[in-house]
C-alpha cells in the first residue's frame, strides 16, 4: 500500500449548542467524534453520509478552516495543529479546497485572472501582473478553452460548470498535494456533472493529487473513489475499498443507504429496507451505538457499549456488534 499522506488520530469536534431566547450555551453537538483516518497518497478517498453526519466538518478540519476540540491531524507525518505562523503558509500550499457552491466561492468583484492569481500572490509574493503564462496553463488544465477568453471575465458571466472549473484552477495553480472537494458537483446541472468529475480524475493523474471527496451521492462516490468511508452522526461506521463496501455492505446503516439509492432502470425492482424514524440525540456523547434507535438487528450489547471498529478481512472495517 502506498504512503499515508493525511492521518488523523481521535479527531473530535464539538460545536456549542445554544438554546432558549438568550442563546445560552448549554452542552454541545458532537459533530465528529473520535475519527481515525489514514488517507493513502495518490488515491481518491470518499466520505459519504447524510446531511448532519459530520462529513463537511471533517473536510473543514483537515484544511484547518476550523480547529478540532481534540485529536491530532498529520500531513506527511507532520502535526499540522501546532505549526508556527511561518510554517503555516507551507501547509496552505500543500492543501487546497474545492467548495460545493461555485456561485458563492468566487468573489464576484474579481476577474478570473485576479481569482486564480491570488494564491500565487499570497504564496509566492508575486505581483498581480505577469502571471499570464501560468494562468493560461491552469485554466486550460481545468478545461476552460481557449483560456485567454476567460482571463478577464467576471463570475457572473460564467455558467455554473465554468465557475467550478475556475475554482479548480485556483486550487491547482500552486500545485497542492492534497485537495478536499466538498460536494464539488452537487450544485451543477446533470449534463455538466460528468465532465467535471472526469476532469477531476484526469487532474489527479496529471498533477499527482490525493483527494478527499465528500459527497452524499453514493453513485458518484462509486464512480470517483478508491476508498470509501461511511459516516453516521459523527462516527465512522464502515470503511473499505469502494467496490467491496458497495457490493458487500456490512453495517446495517450502509445497507439501508445503498438500498435507498434509486436505480435508473425500469426493469429493476429495488428492495426497500424500511428504517424507523427514531434518531439518536447528537447532543449526547456516543456511549451506545448511534444507529441503535433505527437498527433492526440490534441486541442488548449495542445499548451498553459503542462497538469497536474491526477489520473483517480485505481491509474492510466496520463498527457494529452484529457483524
Amino acid at each position: 500500500m502506498s504512503d499515508v499522506i493525511v492521518k488523523t488520530t481521535n479527531l473530535t469536534k464539538n460545536f456549542p449548542a445554544k438554546k432558549g431566547i438568550f442563546r445560552r450555551s448549554n452542552g454541545c453537538i458532537y459533530a465528529v467524534h473520535d475519527v481515525n483516518l489514514e488517507i493513502p497518497e495518490g488515491k481518491i478517498f470518499g466520505l459519504v453520509g447524510e446531511s448532519g453526519s459530520g462529513k463537511t466538518t471533517i473536510g473543514n478540519l483537515l484544511v484547518r478552516l476550523i480547529e478540532p476540540t481534540c485529536g491530532r491531524i498529520q500531513l506527511n507525518g507532520q502535526d499540522i495543529l501546532d505549526l508556527k505562523k511561518s510554517e503555516e503558509i507551507h501547509f496552505r500550499r500543500k492543501v487546497q479546497m474545492i467548495f460545493q457552491d461555485p456561485y458563492e466561492s468566487l468573489n464576484p468583484r474579481l476577474t478570473v485572472y485576479e481569482t486564480v492569481a491570488e494564491p500565487l500572490i499570497i504564496q509566492e509574493k508575486r505581483s498581480m501582473h505577469g502571471n499570464e503564462k501560468e494562468l493560461l496553463y491552469a485554466l486550460e488544465s481545468a478545461g476552460l478553452t481557449p483560456p485567454q477568453d476567460f482571463l478577464y471575465r467576471y463570475p457572473h458571466e460564467l455558467s455554473g460548470g465554468q465557475r467550478q472549473r475556475v475554482a479548480i484552477a485556483r486550487a491547482l495553480i500552486i500545485r497542492p498535494k492534497f485537495v478536499v472537494a466538498d460536494e464539488p458537483v452537487s450544485m451543477l446541472d446533470v449534463s455538466i456533472r460528468v465532465s467535471v468529475l472526469n476532469l477531476m480524475l484526469e487532474l489527479k493523474d496529471n498533477f499527482g493529487l490525493t483527494y478527499l471527496f465528500i459527497t452524499h451521492d453514493l453513485s458518484i462516490a462509486r464512480y470517483m473513489c478508491d476508498w470509501l468511508i461511511v459516516m453516521y452522526q459523527g462516527k465512522i461506521v464502515e470503511s473499505g475499498n469502494t467496490e467491496e463496501v458497495i457490493q458487500h455492505p456490512l453495517h446495517p446503516y450502509t445497507r439501508a443507504l445503498i438500498s435507498a439509492v434509486p436505480i435508473p432502470d425500469p426493469m429493476v425492482k429495488r428492495r426497500r429496507v424500511e428504517l424507523s424514524e427514531a434518531m439518536e440525540d447528537t447532543s449526547k456523547p456516543p456511549l451506545r451505538c448511534r444507529f441503535y434507535p433505527k437498527c433492526e438487528t440490534r441486541s442488548p450489547i449495542c445499548e451498553r457499549e459503542y462497538p469497536e471498529f474491526n477489520d473483517k478481512g480485505h481491509a474492510h472495517f466496520v463498527a457494529c456488534h452484529g457483524v
Partner: protein, 320 residues
Amino acid sequence: MAVLELKSLEMSYKTQEGTVRAIDGASLRVEKGDTVGIVGESGCGKTSIGLSILRLLPPNATIHGGQILFKGQNLLSLSGKDMRRIRWKNISMIFQAAMNALDPVYRVGDQLIEALVEHQNLTKKQASDKMEAVFQLVGLDPGRARNYPHEYSGGMKQRAIIAMSLICDPDIIIADEATTALDVLVQDRILASIEKIKAEFSMTMLYISHDIAVISEVCNKIAVMYAGNIVEHGDTMSLFKAPLHPYTQGLMHSFPKIHGKLERLEGIPGEPPRLTDSSPGCRFFPRCQQSLKKCNSIRPEFKEIEENHWVACHATRRSL
C-alpha cells in the same frame, strides 16, 4: 379524454437581459391513472410548465400561444375566479421548496382543514376526520397535527405537503422536485408513500424532476425537456430501452450507477444554451454529435416515430 393536455404551449419571461423563451411549443398528454415524468436540467422550463398549468406564473411571465386542456376545457380562457375553483380542488401541486410551503404560524393540521373548508363545504368535524385519514395515508401520526411546521423534520414537512396536495381528492397532482432537497433515506420513504398513494387511488400525476433515476421508478411515461422544448416522449420502458433523441441518450450516460459494471461516462459536451438567444434550428444542435446540416436552420417537428413514442429530431428515422 385526457385528464390534462398541453397543445404547443408557449410561454416567456421578460427579464433585463431580454425575453426568455422558457417554454417553446410543448405538447403533452396525461391520461387518467398515468404518472408522467418531466425530466430535464435546471432552466429547461419544467417548473414553468407546472406553474403555467396552475396559472401561478410571476407577473413578468406571459403565455402567448397554445392551449392547456383540463378534461377538454382550456384553462387559459378561464376567469381568475373559475381558475381558483379548479386550483387545489381539481389540480393540486407539491412544490419544490416544501420546507417553505407551510405557513409557520399555523398548526399543520389547521392548514389542511382550511383547504378543505375553503373548497369542499365540509363541517369542522368532517374536515378534521378527513385530515386525520390523509395524515395516516402519508405516514404521519395524526397526533402531530397540532404541531407547528418548525416542530417537524424535513421529511415530515414533505409528507405534510403531500397530504395537503391530496386533501381535496384532486384529479391530478403536479409534483415539482418533490424529494430533491431530502437525504437519500428520507427520499426513499417519501417515494414509497407516493407509490402507495398511486396504487391505492390510481392517482394521475405529473412528476417533475431532474433525477432520471427517481423518474424511472415513479413514472410510467416520461417526457424529456431541453431548453424549453419537449424533445422526446414515450413510455418508460421503451424510452429506457431505446432512447431516440441524442439528448436523452446523453442524459442516460450522465448518471453513474450504483450496481452493475463500472464504466466511464461521457456526459454531454458543452453547456445548455441561453434561452434569450433565439435560433431557428434545433436547440440541442451546438452540443449534438449526430447533427445533420439542416439541424442548425430548421427546428425539427415533434413526430410519432414509433407507436406512442414521440421525438423531435431530424436524425432519428421513422420506423412506423
